[in-house]
């Protein structure tokens, strides 16, 4: 058994210890003002103090390096009799045993650092709702060893061997996005609030410079408040980064269907190579952010345990594309869900307007009580109270109107479609056999309108494990329940 034991690539020690450098860099950045202030005094101060500080940081880094080296040496990975065993013999001993047959996904990822070193991170997820929100096992190997390890696990999983993502050419993919499509995807998926924030910031800055204090020049600003300027720059850069994050994330996005698996390849700074078994796809999510809704674009994601549970990972099957493109590509990638974009979504019953009126009334009463309490402690001018109440009223009414026209459902033969959202729209298509449990809630208003809230539960991460249907009549709930039981 000792011979079967493997260790991660030693570069993992530097990778993990390097995170400490990141933290130190963040601390330095946060103290930028003080550091700049002190630069001019540097030669008047005792230089020795700086060297002592530097020495402490270096010592700290060395200790962390030793800790990770010890952890690397004492962590072993072993494959035997259908089990994957990860054993750690450090001060906190642990031995995790995973059944190979219970593995949901096995993916490969490469960060910028790993690209330089030539290693790959293997990410393994199991079929467990308890561990659905994070990757269960992460192992770093050199390229060849990573491919060999992945193949071995897949053969133990009883999956038919297919060409690995590392060995296929770009034109072997069913769908590949050009640079222009990726840039356009950033635009279509931009968050409306980020765009408004950026526009507001730029317009505000322009008016401040144009019509503000005339004798206060940019030169004065730089001279007097270098730290403040840095903060403004960081804010602008972070706003632009938020808008362009999709570009780095989805750069070179390619996808193909091979047998019973979907293979994805994307990422500029962090390269992701994901494989999703088709039978582990619990549903499909079609997303239309605000701009996508205006321009008639759709993005498609798979709902699957394991894929998309990390910050930089996404289970996207298709980036922004038209309805016709979605139909065409899905016919190749997932014929199981081929025609879902064409299904007629049924809107909520007009009786639901009574629920809306009741909800608005309750929310207004609650906000009036809150205002009264605040007013009791702090005297607020009455016009501010009226403006706050009026704005709140307008926001919730607009929200409910948008939501009323977005929310809907379709009870099909093979799957259920749930449409939801306010400004953004998300359509979820779930196959009945993947629904684990259905729940119906009857509120006080249900007695008047006869409409009830149904919620379905599926195997997914915490955010997606329960999905609420719109308010429907009990017969719709019964219909979905029957289809779920028979599936």
């Amino acid at each position: 058994m000792e011979q079967n034991k493997m260790r991660c690539h030693i570069s993992i020690v530097l990778e993990n210890a390097g995170r400490l450098l990141g933290v130190l860099f963040a601390i330095v950045l946060a103290q930028l003002d003080n550091i700049i202030d002190n630069i001019s005094d540097l030669f008047q101060m005792e230089v020795r103090a700086y060297f002592v500080g530097f020495g402490i940081v270096l010592f700290l880094f060395f200790i962390v390096l030793l800790f990770h080296l010890n952890r690397w040496y004492k962590t072993t990975i072993c494959l035997e009799r259908g089990l994957l065993i990860v054993e750690r013999n450090t001060l906190n001993k642990s031995k995790n045993t995973y059944t190979i047959s219970n593995i949901s996904n096995i993916d490969m990822e490469q960060s910028l650092f790993e690209r330089l070193i030539g290693t790959y991170k293997i990410k393994i997820d199991t079929n467990s709702s308890a561990l659905a929100d994070k990757t269960d096992i992460k192992i770093v190997f050199s390229k060849l060893k990573a491919i060999e390890f992945k193949r071995e696990i897949m053969s133990l999983m009883g999956q038919v061997e297919v060409t690995d993502l590392l060995e296929i050419e770009d034109n072997d993919f069913d769908v590949a996005y050009s640079l222009k499509s990726i840039v356009m995807n950033c635009f279509y998926t931009a968050n409306i609030f980020s765009v408004l924030f950026l526009i507001g910031g730029v317009v505000g800055a322009f008016f401040l410079v144009r019509y503000g204090e005339t004798n206060y020049t940019i030169h004065d600003l730089v001279k007097d408040a270098l730290g403040g300027l840095a903060a403004i720059l960081i804010a602008i850069i972070s706003a632009i980064y938020t808008l362009s994050i999709g570009f780095f994330k989805f750069y070179g996005f390619k996808v193909r269907r091979k047998g019973e698996r979907i293979q994805l390849d994307y990422g500029l700074l962090r390269k992701n190579m994901l494989t999703i078994p088709v039978d582990k796809i619990n549903g499909i999510r079609v997303i239309q952010p605000f701009f996508s809704r205006i321009f008639g674009r759709y993005q498609v994601e798979a709902i699957n345990i394991g894929t998309g549970d990390e910050k930089n990972e996404s289970s996207s099957l298709l980036l922004s594309c038209t309805k016709e493109e979605v139909k065409m590509y899905m016919a190749v990638l997932l014929p199981e869900f081929e025609d879902f974009v064409e299904k007629p979504i049924e809107k909520q019953s007009t009786k639901y307007r009574l629920h809306i009126a009741f909800n608005i009334l309750v929310e207004l009463i609650v906000s009036v009580i809150i205002l009264l309490i605040i007013n009791y402690f702090v005297a607020i001018p009455s016009w501010i109270e009226w403006v706050a109440l009026g704005s709140f009223f307008i926001i919730i009414v607009v929200g409910y109107i948008f939501s009323y026209y977005t929310v809907g459902y379709y009870v099909g033969e093979k799957y259920l479609i749930i449409s939801r959202g306010i400004f953004n729209k998300t359509c979820l298509s779930i196959r009945y056999e993947k629904i684990q449990h259905i729940q119906m809630n009857e509120t006080c208003m249900s007695k008047i309108t006869g409409l009830k809230r149904a919620t379905i539960f599926i195997l997914a991460d915490l955010l997606n494990s329960s999905m609420a249907l719109p308010f429907v009549e009990e017969k719709i709930f019964e219909k979905v329940a029957k289809k779920m039981i028979k599936a």
Partner: protein
């Protein structure tokens, strides 16, 4: 479909559990009222009195309504549970999706000879509450057999599927 109702013991357990909860909540609110909130904050004091009143009302009328509304059905295909006080909930779980069955007993239920059966699927857990001990054990045993049968069926199906793929 004929739903099973709870035994009379359940209402006693509901009253005791509700009494404990109400006493803890009213006691905490009273401490808050006397030690934290100043005497001239009349609105807040009235609100706390109102909450106390609602809690006592819930203790008096809650258990009988919950008892009358609670019903469950277990057949070959699914588990169906109805419960609630102000809002009514209904849960339907297909037997085929069950992963795990658990039987548990809190101190109050223990006092009344009652138990709770928790059925777990891949996506959620649903409790069947206030069951008599013998009935809970019977349900667990029956469901366990059914789960084993389903697991065996799935295993055979997967084996056949794998063999088919290998032959291809």
């Amino acid at each position: 479909m004929i739903y099973e109702k709870l035994s009379k013991k359940a209402i006693g357990s509901m009253y005791v559990a509700s009494l404990i909860g109400t006493l803890i909540a009213v006691f905490s609110l009273t401490i808050l009222l006397h030690l934290v909130i100043p005497r001239d904050f009349t609105i807040v004091r009235y609100m706390i009195f109102g909450i106390d009143g609602l809690l006592i009302l819930n203790f008096i009328v809650g258990p009988p309504i919950r008892y009358n509304r609670y019903a469950y059905l277990i057949n070959d295909e699914c588990i169906d549970v109805k419960e609630g006080f102000v809002c009514i909930e209904r849960h339907i779980v297909p037997i085929e999706r069950l992963h795990n069955i658990e039987i548990s007993k809190g101190p109050v239920n223990h006092l009344f000879g009652l138990a709770e059966v928790k059925v777990t699927t891949a996506g959620s857990t649903i409790p069947i509450k206030y069951l008599e001990d013998r009935q809970a054990e019977f349900i667990v045993e029956a469901l366990q057999k059914r789960i084993n049968a389903v697991a065996l069926k799935k295993k055979l199906y997967n084996q056949l599927k794998t063999n088919d793929i290998r032959e291809i």
